[in-house]
Subunit: 418 residues, 2 copies
C-alpha cells in the first residue's frame, strides 16, 4: 500500500479537482433558476426596451420648444391629451404641443424629451407653462438602452443572480439553459455508527457526517443523495459505492477513522474497473487521511471519519469540486466570504503542513478579533462554536498574537450569530 | 394626501422594520433544516460522547505503566486482545496490560490513556514494546467532552449551519424546532405589464419585478407566493392584496412607477380596516417612493416600479424585514458580505439623501477597484453589470476618487463572475 501513497499539497489537490466538470444540462423555468449555472451564453433576442419610454412623470415635448424657458419666461405649450399606460400613443406630437405622460409611458411620434411634472404648470386644460428647458432625449429611455438586440448579456458558466433572472424575464426568456445540479452520493462507514433515531449502545455513536456533508452539498447548490451506511464489510461498502456510481455524479465515503476502515475504502475503490487514485493523503491538518480518485469521469472521495476533519476538507476542497461539477467558471472559484481579524494568541504549526484552525470571532473596540478554538478534531463542538477557519500556510511555522489574519467564514455573518 | 407624507430616513425605516417578528413555528427533520432558524434553545439531552473514546489508532493502557518509557528502555506490556468497533470492550484492563484500539473505539475499564500505534512495536502476539510515555487521558475523548448533558448548545434565533445539524444528529435530535419560513406575497401593478411568455405590443413591457423579488425572497430563505398582476384598477388590486393578507406573512406590491399607480396602491391599502401607514417615502436614491404599512401584524409594502429601484430597496431594507419575519436574532442582522475597494471616480450626492450607487468590481494590482455604474434606475442592465452597492451617507455630499469604500456584495463573489 505504501508504494501507492500520493500525499499532495493543497495546491496540487486544487489543480486535480479543477479537472472535473459538469455532468449534463437542462432547461428550467426562470422561477426555479436562482443560483443555477448557465450552460450557454445568453444574447438579447430583441431590444430592451422595444420603444422609447419616459423615465419620469411629466409631459412629452419637442426639446427645442423649451429652449430658453425660465421661471420668468416660461415656454407655453398646448396640451393635446394624455398617453395611456400599456398602449401606443394615438396622437403624433406637433410643434408647440405637449402630451401628459407617466413614468414608463411610450413616447409619441414627434416628441424627443420629457419635462418633469415639477417644472410644469397647467394654466388651463390646454395650456402648459414650462419653467425649464430640456435637452433632446432628456428623461427618455431609448430602444435598446438597457440591452441592444444581439448583445451578450450573461456569460456561460455564470451563476444566476436575482437581477439576472429579471433580465431574462424582461427579454421574454422564460426558461434558462443550465447545467444539472451535481448529485452527490453520501456514504458513511464504520461498525460503530447507528442512525440518528436509534439509541446508542456502549461503543456506538450516531452517524453525523451524513447530515453535515448533505447540508454542505445543499448549501452549495448540489443535491445530496444519502446512500446509507455500511459496516466494515467489503461487500456492503462495494454495493453502496456501485449504487453511487450508477446514480450520482460524485461519491463521498466518510469514515471510519480507523486505519482498518481507511484501508477498506481504498481496497473497495481499487476493485472497480478504471479506478484511478489521484490523491492519497493531503498535507493539511485536520484532514490528512483523505483519498481522491475517479472511476471513469466520476470523482470518488474517501473522507476522514472525524466529523470536524471531514468538514474542514469539505470547506477547503469540496466546495471547489462542487463548483466545478456545477459548471461555474471564473478564476476565483472560492466564493466564500472572508473578513480580516486580529489573532488573539499565537498559533503553532509544523512547516510542510497547511493548518486550518477554527476560530471564533468577536468585535472588540471596532475591530474583529479571532480566537483560535483548539480541540480534538473528533469534537464537533469546536465547529459549532467557530465562525470560520484561519489558514496557516504550508511553509509557515505559525502565526503570532496580534497578526492580521484572513478568516474564511463558514457562512454569512448572520448565520453564526455575530 | 400630502398631510400623510411620512418620509423617513433609512435608520428610521430599519427601526420600524425591526418591530416585525416571525409568524409561526414548526418541527422539521434535520435533513431539511439547513438555514432554518431555531425557535427554541437546544440543550444536550445526554453527554456527547456517552463513553470514553480513543482519538487515535493504538493501544489502550494504564498511563502509569508507560512512565519512563523510552526508545532505549521501552515499557513492556501484555496484549490481551482487541476492542471491537461499535461494541463495549469485553475485557477489563489490568496492570501491565494493553488492548488494541482503533480511532473512535471505546476505552475498557482500567485503561486511562491510548498510546499511538507509531510508538508501539509488537514483539510477538502478546508482547508490546512502548517507546514513549503517555499522560493520563492522552488521546482519549472523555464522556461529555464534546457536549455535557444539559449544556446549552444552540440558541433560539440561530440560523442552522451544516455543523449545527451535525450536533443535532450526534445527540439523537432528528427534528429541529424552527420558525416557519416567511411567505411573501408578490403583486405587480401597472396597465403596461404583460407576462414573460407574452409578446409585447407597443407600450407594453414584461413583468420583471415578479421574478426578481421572488428570487430575492428565495435567496434569503423566504417563500415567495406570486399572487399575480393587476392593472390600475382599485378593485383588482384590492382583491389581490386581500388574498395576500389571507395567505401570506407579508405583501409586497411593486409599481407602477407612475404617480397615479402609486396613489392607487396607497388608496387601496387605506381601504383595509386597521391599516397603519408607517413610512411614505424613504430618503434614499434610488427607491424614494416606497410605502411601508401594516394591516394587523402583516407588513405591506408598496415598492417602486423601476426594476433597479425595487431591487435596491429589497437589498437595503427587505432583507432585514425577511430576517425579522424569519425569527433571526442578533445585533447585526445585515449578513451580506462586504469588501473594501478603491473608488475609481468621484460620486456626487445630495445631502439629506442616502445614495446607493451600483458598482462593478475589478482587481487591479492586488486591490479591488469599484467602478460606479451610472444609469437610469429603470435600466436593469446597471444591476446585471454590478457586483454590489456603495452607500453614500445621508449627510455626505459625495465620495472622492481614490476613497476606500465598503462595497455591499449582491452575492458571494463567485456569483458575479469575479
Amino acid at each position: 500500500m505504501e508504494s501507492f501513497f500520493k500525499v499532495k499539497t493543497p495546491e496540487e489537490v486544487h489543480r486535480i479537482l479543477d479537472r472535473f466538470g459538469p455532468a449534463g444540462t437542462e432547461r428550467v423555468p426562470i422561477e426555479a433558476a436562482l443560483d443555477r449555472v448557465l450552460c450557454e451564453e445568453i444574447t438579447a433576442p430583441e431590444d430592451l426596451p422595444l420603444f422609447p419610454r419616459s423615465s419620469m412623470d411629466g409631459y412629452a415635448v419637442r426639446a427645442k420648444d423649451t429652449f430658453g424657458a425660465a421661471e420668468s419666461l416660461p415656454a407655453l405649450l398646448e396640451v393635446i391629451g394624455e398617453i395611456p399606460m400599456g398602449g401606443a400613443p394615438s396622437k403624433e406630437l406637433g410643434p408647440g404641443q405637449a402630451l401628459r405622460i407617466s413614468t414608463g409611458g411610450m413616447l409619441p411620434q414627434g416628441a424627443d424629451a420629457v419635462v418633469m411634472v415639477e417644472y410644469c404648470r397647467l394654466m388651463d386644460e390646454k395650456t402648459l407653462e414650462v419653467d425649464r428647458p430640456v435637452s433632446p432625449l432628456e428623461n427618455v429611455i431609448q430602444p435598446g438602452d438597457d440591452f441592444r438586440k444581439g448583445r451578450r448579456i450573461l456569460e456561460k458558466g455564470r451563476r444566476l443572480r436575482f437581477q439576472d433572472l429579471g433580465v431574462l424575464a424582461g427579454l421574454g426568456i422564460g426558461e434558462a439553459p443550465v447545467y444539472t445540479r451535481p448529485r452527490i452520493g453520501i456514504i458513511s462507514t464504520g461498525d460503530e455508527l447507528v442512525d440518528v433515531h436509534e439509541t446508542t449502545a456502549p461503543g456506538q455513536v450516531r452517524d453525523v457526517n451524513r447530515y453535515t456533508l448533505s447540508a454542505f452539498c445543499r448549501k452549495l447548490g448540489a443535491e445530496p443523495v444519502p446512500l446509507g451506511r455500511s459496516g466494515d464489510s467489503f461487500h456492503d461498502l462495494r454495493a453502496l459505492i456501485r449504487e453511487g456510481l450508477d446514480r450520482t455524479d460524485s461519491v463521498w465515503i466518510s469514515g471510519g477513522s480507523s486505519v482498518g476502515t481507511r484501508d477498506l475504502t481504498l481496497g473497495v475503490l481499487e476493485s472497480f474497473d478504471g479506478f484511478d487514485l489521484l490523491v492519497h493523503g493531503i498535507s493539511i491538518s485536520p484532514g490528512k487521511p483523505t483519498i481522491i480518485g475517479r472511476v471513469g469521469a466520476c470523482p470518488v472521495l474517501g473522507l476522514p471519519g472525524h466529523v470536524a476533519s471531514a468538514m474542514v476538507v469539505a470547506e477547503v476542497f469540496l466546495g471547489r469540486l462542487i463548483r466545478r461539477l456545477s459548471g461555474l467558471r471564473g478564476a476565483s472559484l472560492e466564493g466564500r466570504a472572508h473578513l480580516t481579524a486580529v489573532l488573539s494568541r499565537n498559533i503553532e504549526s509544523a512547516p510542510g503542513r497547511e493548518d486550518y484552525v477554527r476560530v471564533k470571532l468577536s468585535k472588540e473596540g471596532g475591530r474583529w478579533v479571532a480566537v483560535p478554538i483548539f480541540g480534538k478534531s473528533a469534537l464537533i463542538s469546536t465547529l459549532v462554536e467557530a465562525h470560520g477557519l484561519v489558514r496557516v500556510d504550508l511553509h509557515s511555522e505559525g502565526l503570532y498574537q496580534g497578526d492580521a489574519v484572513r478568516v474564511r467564514l463558514f457562512d454569512d455573518a448572520s448565520g453564526g450569530g455575530l
